[in-house]
């Protein structure tokens, strides 16, 4: 079997106020794979991704990224990951270009590499000449594209993308999806993403995990799952699962 890049083992996260966001969650993401976490609002997707991205500390359980513990070896983990938050902004007083250069500087080993990264990012973002303007003049979608570009340009071992295409129009969403897919194929970047868009997940992900109330309900190849559960699309499967769960909790 190929290498495990993300190992989530019996993960629990309780927020202050006794809010259980993640409840004994376990899953693995293998090298070069695109893994999608899907689930309804408040399912615990963002919380899980933030823990993997070293931003939050698990209440219990353990998370290992490429062999490093996200709590004890957070700094090592940060060198391998690139994280796109669900809701993110960029320094609005900088221009798009300056922002990309700023970020690339943390990853690039020399000037040449930095320039390559930035060039790549400009291509991914599709911002054109807008890249020379201040971020404060960007639309929401433009900002999102800039941020997706900055996350991918560094070609991390693991890209963590929390709803990567949220707020993008159809054309740009397709563009971004193709780039993500391409990155996984050509550069061996492992991608862990969350999404509400079932088409996106079906198209992009090698495997998906459906979580609900912090619990993993189902996991596997999206196409096989559809076949197994006799559903025509993921949306149907998803609704089935959530309803099922609701009935379980009632009875």
């Amino acid at each position: 079997m190929s290498n495990v890049v993300v190992l989530v083992d019996d993960l629990v996260k309780v927020y202050p106020g006794n809010i259980v966001a993640v409840n004994h969650l376990s899953f693995k993401v293998y090298e070069g794979e695109v893994y999608g976490l899907i689930g309804p609002n408040g399912a615990g997707k963002t919380t899980t991704l933030r823990i993997i991205a070293t931003l939050l500390k698990p209440t219990s359980g353990k998370v290992i990224v490429a062999g490093y513990d996200v709590v004890k070896e957070a700094e090592k983990v940060r060198k391998l990951i690139s994280y796109l938050p669900e809701e993110a902004g960029a320094y609005k007083n900088l221009t798009g270009l300056e922002y990309l250069e700023f970020i690339a500087g943390f990853y690039a080993e020399n000037k040449r590499e930095l320039e390559d990264m930035v060039e790549e990012a400009i291509r991914i973002s599709g911002l054109g000449d807008k890249i020379y303007e201040k971020i404060s003049t960007y639309s929401k979608g433009m900002k999102r594209r800039l941020l997706v570009a900055r996350t991918l340009m560094v070609k991390p071992k693991l890209a963590i993308l929390d709803e990567p295409t949220s707020g993008l129009d159809v054309v740009h969403a397709v563009h971004v999806r193709n780039i993500i897919k391409n990155y996984a194929r050509s550069y061996g970047v492992t991608v862990l993403l969350s999404s509400h868009n079932m088409l996106e997940v079906e198209y992009l992900c090698d495997r998906i995990g459906i979580i609900h109330k912090g619990v993993l309900r189902l996991e596997g190849d999206p196409k096989k799952l559809l076949h197994e559960y006799n559903a025509s699309n993921l949306e149907e499967l998803f609704s089935k699962l959530v309803e099922e769960h609701a009935q379980e909790t009632y009875s």
């Binding site: 202050p16 006794n18 809010i19 931003l55 700094e75 690139s82 938050p85 900088l94 700023f102 900055r150």
Partner: protein, 435 residues
């Protein structure tokens, strides 16, 4: 890596016009305008004093000499359109006398005044003026009274010159020495001491105070804005240590604050220059300026203490600001700083170290944020114990704060912020909860 972050911090701050204006341009304007205002009001109060003098001043003269020249002085004063009460009783308490009627000033002519002058020795006159209102005009009155005596001295010179040639010229040119004194409450101060203290007491704490408040709010903003603009999450996942992030934020704010301190000092220098020019042109002894009193060394130490204080306040601003969820709430948490910064500063401004018991002074010296003022007082009083105590205390606080800040950046609370159930509670609660 760290350099990248610092450059970003500084760039980001400088591009914000408000900060640039507030920190670097505003102090120059404030001091420039203040210089003009002060020099104008000084001119005005000199005018007022002149008018008061021309309409007649009410003075008491305690004449222990009762001889030729003291009588000549009294006659001269009467001719100068003043109302004179001559007090000839034995031992006079000047403070009580000054308070007894509404005298503007009391002149004391000591015994042997005339004898000295006739022998070619400077005769001395003590002038006492009560200071009830802290204004430039009241110092002007003191100078006006002294001016009267100086006028007499000139008059006396002309008499002496026409009468004799045997007396030494330096004496003839300067036959009377006037000792100006200011009474505050029951304590007598020399006029030159008070004049020097005046400008310092008024202006010097104001300068660092402005910079301090700016520094604190800049540091708080630097974290508040990351939360508000949702850039913090990305920043915290970059391959840099959390300590570097905190350090870069501090350094960024301190660089801005330093630029502001320099600008403040430049403005302050201009300010001092313009008021010194006014006072020297009005021939008064108010001309003593801060630089003269504390010297260049004192000024450097003062600037260093301003910088040290700015560092402490920036760190505190960053720490407190990290409890806010956005720029506005970060700023409002920093608002509490005014309490902690202003009260000690204000108190130490009015407490006279030379008259306060040592333990109390030491206790006051321990209070942070007062360093610049304590530095000045130490240089004026000539006792540096307070300053050393103060600087040690301040550095200790700085270390504690840096520790607190780095602990805060290390944990996840910086990001989650609000504790679930207590949503919407006062920020103070969150602040205390964090311990």
């Amino acid at each position: 890596m760290l350099k990248r972050l610092i450059v970003k911090e500084v760039k980001d701050l400088i591009r914000d016009r408000k900060i640039l204006f507030g920190m670097i341009i505003l102090p120059l304007i404030i001091y420039g305008v203040m210089g003009i205002v002060v020099s104008e009001t000084t001119k005005y109060s000199i005018q007022q004093v002149k008018e008061a003098v021309s309409t007649g001043m009410k003075l008491a003269v305690v004449d222990y000499d009762k001889s030729t020249y003291s009588k000549l002085l009294i006659e001269y004063l009467k001719r100068m359109n003043t109302t004179i009460d001559i007090v000839n009783r034995g031992n006079i308490n000047v403070t009580r006398l000054l308070a007894s009627k509404d005298y503007i000033g009391v002149l004391v002519i000591p015994q042997g005044f005339s004898k000295n002058i006739s022998m070619g020795i400077q005769g001395s006159v003590e002038v006492y003026v009560r200071l009830s209102d802290i204004s430039i005009a009241s110092l002007g009155i003191a100078n006006a009274v002294i001016g009267l005596v100086n006028g007499f001295a000139e008059y006396l010179s002309s008499i002496l010159i026409s009468n004799t040639t045997t007396l030494p010229p330096s004496f003839v040119m300067n036959p009377i020495e006037v000792q100006g004194n200011i009474i505050i409450g029951k304590v007598v101060y020399s006029l030159s001491y008070i004049s020097a203290m005046y400008s310092q007491m008024f202006m010097l704490p104001l300068a660092p105070m402005i910079v301090m408040i700016y520094a604190a709010s800049i540091a708080a903003t630097s974290i508040g804005v990351e939360k508000e603009e949702k850039t913090l999450e990305v920043l915290l996942t970059l391959p840099i240590s959390r300590k570097s992030i905190a350090l870069a934020k501090l350094t960024g704010s301190i660089i801005i604050a330093l630029a502001a301190s320099i600008s403040t000092m430049a403005g302050f220098y201009l300010y001092m220059k313009s008021i010194t020019e006014v006072s020297t042109s009005s021939q008064s002894s108010v001309g003593t300026n801060v630089f003269g009193v504390i010297g260049i060394g004192g000024l450097i130490v003062y600037a260093l203490t301003v910088f040290l204080t700015v560092m402490v306040v920036s760190t505190l601003g960053l720490y407190l600001g990290s409890f806010g969820e956005n720029v506005r709430s970060a700023q409002s948490v920093v608002g509490y700083l005014w309490l902690v910064v202003f009260i000690p500063l204000y108190a130490s401004m009015f407490i006279d170290f030379s008259l306060t018991p040592l333990p109390v002074v030491l206790a006051i010296s321990m209070i942070p944020f007062t360093s610049p003022l304590v530095a000045l007082k130490s240089f004026i009083v000539g006792n540096y114990t307070y300053l050393v105590v103060n600087i040690v205390a301040t550095i200790a606080l700085l270390i504690l704060l840096v520790f607190l800040v780095s602990r805060r950046f290390e944990g996840e609370k910086l990001l989650i912020g609000r504790p679930g159930k207590r949503r919407g509670r006062k920020l103070g609660y969150k602040f205390f909860k964090s311990f």
